[in-house]
Symmetry: C2
């Protein structure tokens, strides 16, 4: 059996709170074995855009990224957030190394084609977008890659890219070499059987249970796309997808998605 | 004889001019063998500080870096400038990978002690500050490391650090493993015998010629600290120090500093 690789995706909420971020990173230091971190943006980039007089332009929860916005989010994600996380991980003994997709050509994206909406400088990830050789070189060198949500097109253009998509694309590509656990860390303890009861975390969901849960309407609508993506990742060879509280990664409470 | 490693330090002027920067990087792509880029800041960081209402605070040409300034210069150097250079190098076929000193603990600095002036979050580089093992791993993987002028102290604190100092400290540390050529690229063609004559580039300066030139007062005062550092690097094992025009790195005109 190949070695376990744990990929942790963390999102906005925890990045905006320095104390929570430090706590998460110190808990991450206690997780043994090979690991990767993928981080989203947080509110800081929007605050900086606003301060600079550029109103964040969101359509259906997605950012329209013009050239000036791309400059600012690149500074914020690849500069401030990424280096802060790397420096804090170094402090707790994790040999982290921050990456955008341009670094070592590690994630080559395709600028999203202009359809009804022009999303601007936004990157989509085709199959084969991941330079698995470089990631293996780093992992085998006992480094922990830390990815921000910026990629490139290989022709000199940086691109803003969804961090969830980066995490699942990395997981799928690296599943050829490792037994990959993809951890989506957020502010709840897992997938809830009853959205009004925080203690109703479902410990394990298989595709057949998922079919039942969907039919019964038990799962919160907002959770459905995350779960669809998760089961697609499992189909593609990822060993486990785990949905858990970013502050409780070393606690038993969490939802584990796995094949039947 | 060990393999040649060329370290190119580029400064503010060329970074501020996108066309010149692209030209330099395309010329760099024609330079064979192992190489490293170290880049300074440019005026962009000062413009951003000013836009954000933070007046750049310089004393004797050195920036006083308070916490808010550090945030901005980290965003600018490690985010915008570094990723722009990396993406442009990828475009011209150089497998560049951007690094701050925190990434892979590659440069661990010491916060400058508070003396008559408190420089704030500024890092000095002791001997042994360079993680040569990681740099060798990257170079042997055919990657071109691109360093910005941000380091860390290993205890979670990022530090603003002089790019010339980073370049010479890298050169000295890597001289144990490679035949290092340290290239300081700027807007003139080399060290001038007559400061009023741009064509009076001195092709080669040895320590004995340097002694003569200093005695005759021929060398511009502003060049003296650069040359002192260069000869110190040669003393410490660096094979050559080259002072050249960033736009003419593949032309023969330049000043080569080497031992007698």
């Amino acid at each position: 059996m190949s070695e376990v690789l744990k990929i942790f995706k963390i999102g906005g909420g925890i990045i905006d709170d320095t104390a929570q971020l430090s706590f998460f990173l110190s808990e991450l230091a206690r997780v043994g074995g090979k690991k990767i971190v993928v981080h989203g943006g947080g509110k800081g980039a929007n605050e900086l855009l606003t301060t600079l007089g550029m109103l964040p332009n969101m359509v259906n929860g997605r950012r329209i990224t013009d050239a000036a916005t791309l400059d600012v989010v690149t500074m914020f994600y690849a500069g401030k957030t990424n280096k802060q996380i790397v420096a804090l991980l170094q402090q707790v003994g994790v040999n982290a190394l921050g990456l955008s997709g341009a670094d070592g050509n590690v994630i080559r994206a395709i600028k999203r084609p202009v359809g009804e909406i022009d999303y601007g400088f936004v990157g989509d990830l085709p199959e084969q977008s991941i330079n698995t050789e470089l990631i293996q070189l780093l992992l085998e060198g006992n480094l922990t890659p830390v990815f921000c949500a910026i990629t490139h097109d290989g022709h000199g253009q940086l691109l803003n890219t969804n961090a969830d998509t980066i995490a699942s694309t990395l997981a799928r590509a690296l599943a050829h070499f490792y037994q990959v656990e993809l951890h989506f860390c957020f502010e709840k303890d897992g997938v809830l059987a009853d959205v009004n009861d925080e203690s109703s975390v479902i410990p394990q969901i298989t595709p057949s249970l998922y079919t039942d849960l969907k039919a019964s309407g038990a799962i919160a609508a907002g959770m459905l796309p995350k779960l669809e993506n998760a089961f697609a990742a499992l189909e593609a060879g990822v060993a486990k997808v785990i949905i858990e509280n970013a502050l409780k990664i070393n606690k038993p409470v969490k939802t584990i998605l796995c094949r039947d």
